[in-house]
Symmetry: C2
Subunit: 460 residues, 2 copies
């Protein structure tokens, strides 16, 4: 007999079927036992004799044969997709047993340490699982939106030879007899590939050795990166970014209704027209609204980000807002300066509900200008020799943007900590298990460590 999914049983009333899944819960009512059976499509109520359900406990994996029947009116559960039916079990086979659970897996507000210490288990919690169905859709919509605009997908390398971009911290690797690093972004590779495919994107891993524990950092994250050439105006980058982000929201609203509902999230009112403000304009508005004068700060503070989003919502009915023209010193060396000669750049951030979710801008595509800027930023041209080939041999005006899938997921679902949006999040203290508690030992390399620390300091 072929297995059917729980969600398919609704169409099979009075028929004999076979289903399979995990015991989500067990309720004993005298001679009858009610099992909620969970499979990838949802939950189905199974009614067993106590004999058939003997020894069956939570998280046991079962195969159940039986007849689908309508529930008595009083027993209908509108919260369940299969709430109008149940399966009257005739045969129950145990595919795998489970130990007694160390905590209540159905608890909706598990603490972060429990969520992470028991990840293989807590991911089975429907609300936790929903986070990663949403994340899958974020990634897929990013991909589809760009494919529809004729972008080529590529897989950038993650082992890099030198600490090129500056700014963020790097993890060193022992690469055969050499020292190498984990890439902090696929930036240089996506730019190189504009010279090949014109429009490219990647779903890739990026790594940041941030020596701090915050609600916004994970060491390894999913970077969604896009880059495009032959732009006529740098605003086209924001246009493209807006198409991508709107598709993500549109698709989520369509395909992840149930998941969004679990988090009380509605994305229908996010806004059609995304306002665009220069950072200097934004700071003036914030000053006028709050009396807080940050007009001399080269970036928006977290407080400012929240305030300007509030402004966008009130004045433009948009939960999204582009902030543009960040100062040169706050952006990487490859950022195109504003041609007006000021100390600002053709760069942007996209803010959503108080937090930056996308960052992007036009790049310097002129070889000589790029050479000069590398020098100006204090980097060695030799370290960029490979990257520079792309510009030495003809690169059109180009730019792009990137977003972190975990932060995007966190912000969409209103999670408190980005680690909740990491499938197996890595931080200073954790790779799956807590590092201090695991078999890991401190590497006894004081000399090497000192060298790494020194480099970090220099870069700051």
């Amino acid at each position: 007999m072929q297995r059917v999914l729980n969600s398919e049983t609704q169409q099979l009333i009075d028929q004999k079927v076979k289903v399979a899944g995990w015991v989500n819960s067990r309720r004993d009512h005298g001679k009858l036992v009610f099992l909620d059976l969970r499979d990838r499509s949802g939950i189905l109520q199974v009614v067993c004799s106590s004999e058939l359900a003997k020894d069956v406990k939570d998280e046991f994996v079962l195969e159940v044969e039986g007849v689908v029947q309508e529930r008595p009116k009083a027993m209908i559960n509108p919260a369940l997709k299969t709430g109008e039916i149940e399966l009257k079990a005739e045969k129950v086979s145990v595919l795998a047993k489970a130990d007694s659970l160390p905590f209540d897996l159905k608890e909706l507000n598990l603490s972060l340490p429990t969520l992470l210490d028991w990840r293989p288990l807590t991911l089975r919690n429907p609300k936790v699982k929903a986070i990663f169905k949403v994340q899958e859709q974020v990634v897929e919509s990013f991909r589809r939106a760009l494919k529809e605009m004729d972008f080529t997908e590529f897989q950038p390398p993650t082992i890099v030879a030198s600490a090129t971009e500056g700014g963020a911290e790097l993890f060193p690797i022992q690469y055969y007899k050499y020292k190498a690093y984990l890439a902090q972004s696929p930036q240089l590779y996506k730019q190189i590939l504009v010279g090949v495919f014109e429009r490219v994107f990647a779903v890739t891993k990026a790594y940041r050795a941030e020596p701090s524990v915050t609600t916004r950092h994970i060491s390894e994250y999913i970077s969604l990166d896009a880059e495009m050439g032959f732009i006529n105006a740098w605003e086209e980058l924001m246009d493209t970014c807006a198409i991508v982000v709107k598709k993500i929201f549109y698709d989520l609203q369509k395909s992840c209704q149930e998941e969004l509902k679990m988090f009380n999230v509605d994305l229908r009112e996010v806004g059609e027209n995304i306002p665009r403000l220069k950072i200097s304009q934004a700071q003036r508005i914030i000053f006028e609204r709050t009396g807080r004068d940050n007009t001399n700060v080269p970036d928006l503070t977290p407080e400012d980000e929240r305030e300007i989003c509030q402004f966008a919502k009130e004045k433009h009915e948009s939960e999204l807002i582009f902030i543009t023209h960040f100062p040169t010193k706050k952006r990487p060396f490859y950022t195109q300066p504003d041609p007006d000669g000021s100390d600002y750049t053709l760069s942007f951030d996209l803010l959503f509900r108080g937090v930056e979710i996308v960052t992007g801008g036009q790049r310097i595509h002129e070889y000589e200008k790029l050479l000069k800027n590398i020098k100006k930023f204090g980097f060695s041209q030799g370290a960029f020799k490979f990257y520079l080939q792309a510009f030495q041999y003809g690169m059109p005006p180009e730019g792009g943007f990137c977003m972190g899938a975990e932060r995007m997921t966190k912000q969409i679902l209103g999670l408190e900590n980005v680690k909740e949006a990491g499938l197996f999040p890595r931080d200073m203290e954790r790779i799956d298990q807590r590092l201090s508690a695991s078999l890991q030992k401190e590497t006894k390399k004081p000399r090497a460590k000192r060298r790494v620390l020194k480099r970090r300091k220099k870069k700051k």
Copy 2:
């Protein structure tokens, strides 16, 4: 004026258009200059006055306005998609200049060192670029085939805490004050997620510190991984694998015709029914065909792989063949043994044109059995504590398979070296630039290195 793509000009005869791209070649004919302009859609012939094309050289990035006209009959080029038309230029703008090329970029058989030393440039060669359009389709078809079968896509972590699986070599990372490693496969994570989503797949990076330079190895590769639960028979894994691989071939034949043609590749005759042979049967057949007795060898030699593919083609009209039931000692600890009690496993390789392209099998899903096998293989259960949670709390019968996108691409296109199928391939001697020639210095950590070497020896 809006830019149109070169491929769109065919529909715009006698109209004024703007195109943009790179100068693929320049041919001077007295007062006229013929430029082949290359954009992401292909090549277009542009006819200029020598005045308009003054100073224009190969790989310059141009924007050209002009009128599309039919070519004189004698000048039609059937090799070109736009071979029946040309653009009569009225205005030529140089978007970016290019230095004189260090070699002939149109050369179809560039040497491997040139291909890699000048990667940002050589990727522009249409035949090289075609490799990565094929690879993009391989990845996309893998993804689509599995999504159609209700698999969930996930992004596995690549930083891992310990050297778990054994076999392949690992790259150590300095992870804050701890030592960590680059994952050699997402195996343990995809198994954990069967407990959550039942069916999962990933397109991810995997890392192998193979201290050898061969035509088959790269240090960082694209792993296409799938895993599924609730299988009734382990043969379902081969069925699923066959669906995926056939979709890859089918889609390539449909969407990458031009690219396949460049490599004289035809995938239409790959075969409908893929034969399945136990390794012991295969070895007997090879013995009968060649007199080579490898029936006591626990794996197929490269010579044997070629011979059994030849057999499959002759006897079964298939260029694909499944080899099954590899000995326990040749497969990882989590491989399900054959229930017949022999020393063979429920595992398979899929061979294509003489080389293994997929490997897979059923896993041990029973917690106690898995514990025993970890011990039997000489590993510490503590190192697997996190992974084991998934099995301790109920896991259905499950299995999966994986393939390397670069090797798949190499084998499909008949490339000589897998590095040709790596976008920016990393090996013992190269991360973009040759390591010995770059700014890299040997890390002076003899003590640390000795320790790594010692661990490697123990594992062998």
